[in-house]
Structure formats: C-alpha cells, structure tokens
C-alpha cells in the first residue's frame, strides 16, 4: 500500500490542524507543519525507494467524481511526476524549516502554506486534466494570501500581479481544455480521452488550442514575455513562499506544458515550436542581463529564476527525448537551487541585516558577520552557475545538446545565457558577501571591528543541508532521476518526441 495518494489529503488535513493549533500556540502550529511536511517527505521517499520505472502512468486512485462530465478523481504516478513529488517534499520541508521564525499569525501562515503544498502535490499526481486544473487553482489562491499577508516590498502590488497573471494563465488553460473537450467530443477529462479528442480537431483548431493551453501554463512557468509577475512576486513573498514559488510553483506551469500541452496537441506543438524556442532563448538571455544590473539582492535571484526556467522551456521547445529529460531534470535542479538561494536571501540575510540593497550590503563585512550564509550562498551560487558536480550541470548540458541538434543558434544563445548567469552570480556573491573582503584581509585599519559573526540556527542548517545534499547527489549521479524519467518519456503519450530520434 503506497502512501503517495494520501499526500494531498494529509497535507490538507495538516493545513486545517495547523490553523486550529495556531490559535493556541505558535510552537504547535510549527510542529504540525513540520510533521505534515515530513509525512510528505517520508511518503515520497518510500515511494521513491520502491519505485519500479515504467513507461506508463501507474494508477494510485481512480474514482468517479463528476460523472455527467466524465470527470474522475484519478491520481497516478510515473518517473516524471515522482521526481517532482520528491522535489516538492524537499522544498516543502526546508520551507517549513526556513520559516521557523515567522511570528505573526503563525497558524494561518502554515495553513496557507500547507494548502499551497497540497495543491502542488495534487497537480503532480493528477491523471485527469480537470483534477489537474482544480489542484492547480488550489495552489494559486494561497499564494495571494501568503504574499499579501506576510510579504515585504510592495507586497500587495506583487500579490495582485501574481494572482492576476496566474488566473489569466489558468483561464487560457481552461478555455483550451474545455474547447478540446467540446469540439473533439471527449468522453471525459482523462489524459487519454483528451488526447484522442484533440487528434479529432482540425489542424487550425489544434494549433489554436495548443496555443491557449501552452501559453496559459507558460505564464506560470515564467516564459518570456509573460514572466513579469515572477520577479515582483518572488521579491514580495515571504521567504518560505518565495522558496515554494520559485522552487515548485513555477514548475507547475512547466509540468503542465510537458504533461498536457505537448502530448495532447503534437500537431499544434509542431506549429508553435519555433516561437517557443526563440521566446525561451530570449528569456534566458534577457532575464540574465536584467539580473546583472539589479540593486536588490532578491531581484537578482528572482530574475535568475526566470533565466533558469528559460532552459526548461528551451528543452520543451526542442521536443526531443533527451532534451525533455533534461528539462525535467532542470525543473528538479532549479527547484532545489532556487529554494536555497531564496532561503539565503530572505531568511539568512534579510532577517538579520534588514536590508537587501547590494550597495548597503557591500559596505558591511558580510563574510565575517554571516559566514554560514556566505558558505551556503557560494555553494548554491556555484550550483546555479551550472558547475559540474551540481545538479544544474547535467540538466543544462542535456538541454543544450538537444537544442544544438534542433537549432544550433538556440544552443549558442543559451550558452551566452550560461555565461551571463555566471557573471551575475559572481557579481551578487561579491557584492553581497565579500564587499569588505580585501579591506578586512589587507589593511587592518579599514576593517570594522565587529562581533565575530552570527551562527546559523539549527532549522536553517537542516533546511540548507537538505537542499544542498539534493543538488550535489543529483549532480554527481543524475542517473538516479534519469532512470525514472527516461522510461516515462518512452510512453505513448510522448510518442511525438520519440519519433524524432537524433541520428
């Protein structure tokens, strides 16, 4: 008996319990949240240990829901969704650890947080497009409250922008799916039924429906030029929420593209392929360049997320098995790394220094004041630059190889993006942590006398350790995930990709 199908339900119950517990004591709410997140982690871990890679979605639960429309509560798992479930478990657990210091309305905070997490788990596990959509929306709504209620810089603006973009995107998705259901005469919303219905649509309809569904999902994945909600939303969000937003919620969009848009409408995809590829490349380079000139630490990370998600979209645009696998791996990798980076900025630096202004941080000997944060950030930054040994490297490599064989200019442009990513990461690292480094080492007169630095708290260490371990383990042995992902990409749903084997 697998625990997987229980994760969304248990997480929702955990959200309720956190709300109830929070009314009495903050500590109880934290404990409930941590236990709930740990349940998800254990369930995902057990499932991962027992997982036998197959090229089919393995059904976990399947019961009728809205019978008149053929909608079912159908949860299933394959290698792709399991990777992302594991990612969610990691991000959710470390998110709870990083928000240990939230002091206001703790119960409500964790209730919303867990609702968001439950929605995300639900999306990754759904095998019915309608159910998928419902979970998708369940994940969107709490974001608004988390950002508007506990956020910082221009939080109400950021929250509203984020919600409007998300809802606009999901409205497009719903319109596309309902159109397919209606025009194609589907019997239900199961993946198979809708794929079949889409194949009965005319060429023009197929192309238009793909456009609706893909760009609806791509809005949440931060595809250029639909990305503008992401930096403002990430910056405004409280630490744990931005970890989840960048780490997992953006993946919902990319996962929707991979799981629904591409397999449902291979014909439409072929028509849009070039557009998507160029937009992805533009996003990689543009967001990287913007990140290079930011003054707010968190904005740098926000734009870097958009740039990295560009790689995922590029991998999808090539429509080749290797690149799709790379895109999935990149989703996992970026989820872990973005979580880590936002954790460092929001929790470790901002809560102690009360500024994220790089000019102000540069004037402080941060490497001495927060040596732990500096160490974590250096590691995370290296991972973010895509150095070998971290998970970003195999993922981006696979995507670049795929892009090269499909359209060499994309690969060249994306490599420029990698260089820009190196530049902005090094810049922010230098400004934020090592601004007074030379002064401190060389001329003793210039160095401020300072308390010998602040230690990271235990939850921070645990949270950071968890994510660092994940990126290093996958970096050293990407086959752990690829062994799950590759068979899943051999399934009939991804037939359009397998048929185009690179000679």
């Amino acid at each position: 008996m697998s625990l997987l199908p229980w994760i969304p339900v248990v997480t929702l119950v955990g959200a309720l319990l956190a709300l109830v517990a929070g009314a009495r004591s903050a500590a109880a709410a934290r404990a409930v949240a941590l236990l709930t997140a740990l349940f998800g982690a254990v369930a995902a871990g057990v499932a991962a240990a027992r997982f036998a890679p197959s090229n089919e979605l393995v059904t976990l639960v399947d019961v009728p829901w809205i019978t008149q429309l053929g909608i079912r509560y159908h949860l299933a798992v394959d290698g792709i969704s399991l990777s992302l479930v594991v990612l969610t478990a990691l991000a959710a657990t470390s998110g709870v650890l990083f928000s240990w210091t939230v002091a206001e309305r703790v119960g409500e905070f964790f209730a919303l947080y867990l609702t968001l997490v439950a929605g995300v788990y639900g999306v990754f596990l759904s095998a019915d497009a309608f159910l998928f959509f419902v979970f998708y929306e369940i994940a969107i709504v709490p974001k608004y409250f988390l950002v508007a209620g506990w956020g910082s810089t221009r939080r109400e603006y950021g929250a509203m922008k984020l919600v409007l973009y998300s809802f606009a995107g999901s409205a497009l998705v719903l319109a596309g799916l309902v159109w397919t259901y209606g025009a194609g005469g589907a019997e239900g919303f199961s993946f198979g039924a809708l794929t079949e219905a889409a194949s009965r649509m005319s060429y023009g309809e197929n192309v238009a429906a793909f456009g609706l569904v893909f760009f609806g999902f791509a809005t949440l994945a931060g595809l250029f030029p639909l990305h503008t909600w992401a930096p403002t939303g990430h910056v405004a969000a409280p630490t744990a929420a931005s970890m989840l937003l960048a780490g997992v919620v953006m993946k919902l969009g990319a996962y929707g593209c991979l799981r629904i848009a591409l397999p449902f409408y291979p014909v439409g995809f072929a028509a849009w392929q070039m557009v998507i590829g160029w937009l992805a490349v533009a996003g990689i380079v543009y967001a990287g360049l913007v990140a290079l000139v930011q003054r707010d630490f968190k904005f740098v990370i926000g734009y870097s997320s958009v740039s990295h998600m560009g790689f995922v979209m590029l991998g999808l645009a090539t429509g080749e098995v290797e690149a799709l696998a790379g895109a999935t791996l990149q989703m996992f990798s970026h989820g872990v790394i973005a979580g880590l980076l936002f954790g460092v900025v929001g929790r470790m630096v901002y809560e102690r220094e009360h500024t994220r202004d790089l000019v102000e941080l540069e004037a402080r000997p941060m490497h001495r004041r927060l040596p732990g944060a500096a160490a974590v950030f250096v590691l995370a930054g290296l991972a973010s630059m895509g150095l070998p040994g971290f998970s970003g490297f195999p993922a981006e490599l696979k995507i670049l190889v795929g892009a090269w064989s499909f359209h060499p200019i994309w690969a060249v442009a994306a490599v420029v993006g990698v260089l820009v990513a190196g530049a902005f990461t090094l810049r922010v690292m230098q400004r934020a942590f090592f601004g007074q480094f030379s002064a401190a080492c060389g001329l003793g007169a210039g160095a401020e006398t300072d308390d010998g630095g602040e230690r990271l708290s235990l939850p921070e260490k645990l949270g950071a350790g968890l994510l660092l371990a994940a990126t290093i383990v996958i970096g050293l042995k990407p086959d752990l995930l690829l062994d799950w992902i590759m068979p899943a990409l051999q399934s009939p749903a991804f037939h359009f990709a397998a048929s185009k084997v690179v000679p």
Partner: protein, 507 residues
C-alpha cells in the same frame, strides 16, 4: 359570457396546485393579522412566526417535491406546472427565507415597522413563483407587476435614509419605463397574434396564451409587428435581470436599498427574470434568428460592462451590484446556448443555485458589517475583519471565491457548465468575452478579500475623532448557523454535485 362558461372555467381552478404560493401569501396575511391581534410586547415574535412558517413550507415543499412536477395546465391555461417551475419554487422559497433572516438582523438596527417587511417579501416571493410558471401574458404581466410594486416599497423601506428613498424613486421610474415597454410589447404581440387576417383560425380567442403565440410565430416568423413586440418584451425582462442596456438603475438602487433587499434584488429578482426569460425563450424559439443576436449582444455587453464598471468601485454595495450585472451576462450565455442544446439549461439552473448560495453568504456578511446607514459600506470598513471577526471573514472569502469562480467552489462548476454548453453551441466570441470577464473580476473580488484580510495602513485618527470603521453587529447563533451552512454548501457543491446535476439534467 354566460354562467356555464364561467363554471367550466372555474372547474379548472385547481387551488391545491398552487401549493407553496397560496400558503405563503396566507402566511403573509397572517402576519398582519397577528400584528393587530397580539399585544404590542409580543410583536417581537412575529418575525419568528414568519421564519418558522417559511421553514415549514420549505420542508413541506421538499417532501412533496415529486408531487408538483407533473406537467399540467391549470386555471384555464394561465399557469403551467412543470419540474422547472418546481425548481424555481424551491429557489424562491429559500431566497425568501434567507432574506427574512437577514431582515431580522438589519431591522434590529432601525426604528422601523417590522411586520410589513416580512409580509411584502413573502408576497413578492409568491409572485415570483407564479411569474416563472405563467403561461399567459396576462398572468405574466400581473405577476411581474406584483413583484415590481413590492420592490418599490422594499427598496425605499428605510424611509428615513435619503439614499434609500432615492433608490426607491429610481427603481420606480425605471421600473415604470420597463413595464411600459413590456406592456407595449405584449400589446403588439396580441395585435399580431389576434389578427384574424394573419392567424390560423382559432388563435384569436387565446391571443395572449403562450402556446398560441408560439404557434403564430411558427407560422409567421417574419411578422414585423410581432418582432418588435418580442424585442420590447425581452427589454422588459432585461430590466429585471439588469442586463445592458437596462442596467443603469442597478448600482444606485442596490446601494440605497436595505442590504437584505439588495440580496433579494440580486438573487430573487434576477432568478425570476431568468425563469421568465427561459419560458419566453421557448415561446419565441421560432424567431431564433432575431432573439439570438439580441441576447448575444446583450450578454457580451453585460459581461464587459459589469466587470469593468465594478473595477472602479469602492462602495461594496455598488461593487456587488455591478458584479451581479456581469453574472447576469454569464447566465445569458447559458440561455442562448440552450437554443442549440436544451441541456444547457441545467447549467443555468446550477449557476443560479451556486449564485444564490454564494451571494447570500456575502450579503450576510455585509449585513453584519454595516452600521445603521446601510448605504455607507466602503471597502475600507472591511479592514481587519479577519482579525476581529474571523468567522465572517472566512464566510466572505468563500462567498467571494465562489462568485469569482475559483475551483473547487460551486461557482466554478456553474461557470464550467455554462462554458461547456457555450462551447458545444459554438459561441466562441461570447466565450472569449466571458473568460476575459472572469479574469477581470478576479481583481475586484480579490481587492475585497484583501481589504477584509489585511489591515490597511491608515493615518492615525486625529485626537477627538472616532477611529474609522463601523460598529459591527455581533453574529447571533441563527445567523451563524445560516452563514456557516451557506459557506459549507459552496464548498460541498463544488466538490460533490453529481446527484444535483443529474436531477437538473433529467428535467
């Protein structure tokens, strides 16, 4: 007319078939009698009688739900009983009950006569039931006027409040205009149908009967006089549902009316309008090529106008009024889609249920948040509601979420059903507008939620001035139970609506 004719006509008067209407009107009369008979200090029990009486009627109606469903014409073809009519009876009885409950809360803050309020609400509800079951233009007009005249009084019920009086006056003027248009339309149709030169033989006698109008239109779908009549009749109904271009009264009247009456207008009057529209759409079906474009333009304009106008509102009553206009637009799409596939009507009915449940949750919260002057309800008065009244805030969030159509709440399923019907009917342009409207609506619904959940930064009140915010009415247990039930119903209908949809589809 000789006596035997009268007798045979009266033989068709099956009074028992008017089950919830007649007892409801009698109950309303009983309230007035009680006010005369009872000593003054026991007058407080009259609202309790009203509510318990309606509750009993509702139970009786539900127990006997199947009984009233047989299709039949009574009262000489004035009234047509049908399962749809039975559905609307339940809907209006629930509406009337909820309005009475909110009325108790609202009236407690006013120095106003109480009993007439409940009396008129119940009479109007009974008239709404008859309206949607009418099968004859005379019946139709009389029922519609009963509803409208009742609302003239209810809207200006708080007569010491200038805004309430202004609202009453506006409703009166606009209502009179629309009644005149409706009547003119009926007369034109009567003239056309009753014309012996045109009509098939035998129609002239029952020229106001819906069946003969339909029969006439089947034979002469291009009759110009009849077409003008159709457009005028539809205009009169459009006034009831607040569709563009007959929405102009909506914000002012909704704002000025007592909050329970605003709810009654928003839910009851709109549902009655749609019940009538569905009947008329069937009657006018032979003139599809005229009716569909008229309704389509109306629906598109209504959705866009309602949503765009609601964006700029700071007064919540105006906001909910204009958002209600946009909901009428979505419902209109369902009515249009029903021309292509009658099953679309089940979407309209489900939408009405979801709209009723969500709206009353929101109006219930509004009733409690408002002060003595119910027209004065700004978004900023909701600041910090989540901290001071978490229960009300939760109900508000669920209600607004359902109105905005966020899954998995009931409003989402309603929208989904209507959109699905519109897709299969091929109404792509209207759908595009509707989807756009839904996205726009998120902004103002979330703006309201934001106001309720997060404390706004305010200038500290200068010394001597009272802090902003209204005295909020404490939530008594009947209101708590009602609001809790409505909130739960919004969630449950979103997650599990199988049997209900099945029942709606079966009719």
């Amino acid at each position: 007319m000789n006596l035997s004719l009268l007798q045979s006509a009266a033989a068709d008067n099956r009074w028992a078939a008017l089950f919830p209407e007649l007892p409801l009107a009698l109950l309303a009369l009983l309230l007035l009698v009680l006010e005369i008979v009872l000593p003054k200090r026991q007058h407080r029990s009259i609202p309790v009688v009203a509510i318990l009486g309606q509750l009993a009627l509702l139970v009786a109606l539900l127990v006997n739900l199947r009984g009233g469903m047989t299709e039949q014409l009574t009262f000489n073809g004035l009234i047509r009983h049908s399962p749809t009519g039975q559905f609307f009876r339940v809907l209006f009885l629930v509406t009337s009950l909820l309005v009475s409950l909110l009325g108790v809360v609202s009236l407690a803050r006013q120095r106003m006569p109480r009993v007439e309020f409940f009396h008129i609400v119940m009479i109007v509800s009974a008239a709404m039931m008859l309206l949607v079951q009418s099968h004859h233009f005379v019946m139709f007009f009389v029922a519609l006027e009963t509803v409208t005249v009742g609302f003239y009084i209810l809207v200006s019920y708080y007569r010491t409040n200038p805004l309430s009086l202004e609202a009453g006056l506006k409703y009166l003027v606009m209502g009179a205009l629309s009644s005149a248009m409706l009547l003119f339309g009926i007369v034109l149709l009567y003239g056309a149908v009753g014309n012996p030169a045109l009509a098939p033989s035998g129609l002239a006698a029952g020229a106001m009967d819906f069946a003969s109008v339909r029969q006439f239109l089947l034979a002469h779908p291009d009759n110009f006089l009849a077409q003008v009549g159709i457009v005028l009749v539809l205009s009169g109904v459009a006034f009831k549902i607040g569709a563009v271009p007959f929405q102009i009264w909506v914000p002012d009247v909704y704002q000025g009316a007592p909050t329970p009456i605003t709810a009654f207008l928003a839910v009851g009057s709109k549902a009655a309008g749609f019940g009538a529209l569905v009947v008329l759409a069937g009657v006018f079906a032979p003139c599809k090529s005229l009716v569909i474009p008229v309704l389509s333009v109306m629906a598109g304009a209504t959705i866009l106008f309602g949503n765009l106008a609601a964006l700029t509102q700071y007064n919540v009553k105006r906001l909910i009024a204009l958002s209600g206009v946009s909901h009428a637009g979505y419902l209109l799409i369902g009515v249009i889609a029903a021309y292509y596939d009658p099953a679309a009507l089940s979407g309209v009915y489900f939408y009405l249920i979801a709209y009723l449940v969500a709206s009353f949750a929101v109006f219930g919260v509004m009733t409690h948040v408002s002060g003595e002057n119910e027209a004065d309800q700004e978004l900023e008065h909701y600041a910090d509601l989540a901290r001071t009244h978490p229960f009300l805030a939760l109900v508000l969030v669920i209600g607004l979420g359902s109105l905005a159509g966020i899954p998995p709440l009931a409003g989402f399923i309603g929208k989904l059903m209507i959109f699905l019907a519109a897709f299969s009917a091929g109404l792509y342009v209207l759908l595009g507008i509707a989807v756009l409207g839904v996205v726009i609506s998120i902004y103002y619904y979330f703006g309201w939620i934001k106001a309720a959940c997060f404390s706004a930064w305010r200038l500290p009140a200068p010394a001597g001035e009272a802090a902003a915010g209204l005295p909020r009415t404490p939530v008594a247990w009947p209101a708590r139970v009602t609001l809790g039930t409505l909130a739960v119903a919004s969630v449950v209908l979103g997650l599990w609506q199988g049997p209900l949809i099945g029942w709606l589809l079966a009719r």
